[in-house]
């Protein structure tokens, strides 16, 4: 009786979970565990499936980001609408207005190479060509 009851219970459990088991069979570890192992309640199986999907999606996204960053380690992601950083705006405006008197601040805050980076901005290097093209297009 006990084994019969256990068998019925297993059969009922498998029937209830049949829809999920079809999906689980397609995946590897979770599916085989649910199908051949002890009976697991439906919410528990569903929860495992959801967790598995979330993990898989998360891992895929993380892998894609990692691949992208390995390919373009210094690429600026300016493909979406950006937020406007007020503190950065004020800092850069004051640094350029007060250059070269702002050099000690740059040294202290960002290191010795920062003054050279900012110096190129002061010289119009790069921006001149950019602005020129901008004016031509307008």
């Amino acid at each position: 009786m006990a084994s019969e009851a256990t068998g019925n219970s297993m059969l009922r459990c498998q029937t209830e979970n049949s829809a999920l088991n079809v999906e689980l069979m397609e995946s590897n570890e979770v599916g085989s565990h649910a199908f051949n192992g002890p009976c697991i309640s439906t919410p528990m199986v569903a929860q495992n499936v959801l967790k598995s999907d979330e993990n898989q999606q998360g891992q895929t996204i993380a892998q894609n980001v990692k691949n992208y960053e390995e390919q373009f380690p210094w690429h600026i992601h300016r493909t979406a609408i950006r937020s406007f950083q007020i503190d950065t705006f004020l800092e850069q405006f004051l640094v350029h207005m007060l250059y070269p008197f702002s050099v000690p601040y740059l040294d202290k805050t960002y290191g010795p190479q920062a003054k050279s980076i900012q110096f190129l901005d002061v010289l119009f290097r790069g921006d001149a060509i950019d602005l020129f093209r901008w004016v031509i297009i307008i």
């Binding site: 300016r78 850069q92 350029h96 790069g126 950019d130």
Partner: protein, 93 residues
């Protein structure tokens, strides 16, 4: 690749224009250079610096700090080209 050393003199100081104009106001007026011309030049410099500040302000905090702390000049040049108005915002290279 090492960075070019910034100039030690202050010839690129924005306010030197205003200082020179105050010092030589009489001579400039005699030479026919009006104060309006002086203010146009000063305003152009100010607008240029506003544009630069706006360009940096569109970066995230992490990108901004990474850019200013970058040691490799070629990487900085590439980042700078990506940050420019046209190349950055309109995706034109």
């Amino acid at each position: 690749m090492p960075f070019p050393a910034p100039a030690r003199y202050s010839s690129h100081c924005y306010w030197i224009l205003a200082v020179l104009f105050c010092l030589f106001d009489g001579e400039l007026t005699t030479a026919g250079i009006s104060r309006t011309e002086f203010f146009v030049a000063l305003a152009a410099g100010g607008v240029y610096r506003l544009i630069i500040a706006s360009r940096y302000a569109s970066l995230t905090a992490e990108e901004y700090v990474d850019f200013l702390k970058e040691q490799n000049q070629s990487v900085v040049a590439e980042l700078r080209s990506q940050m420019q108005l046209l190349t950055g915002w309109m995706q034109v290279r």
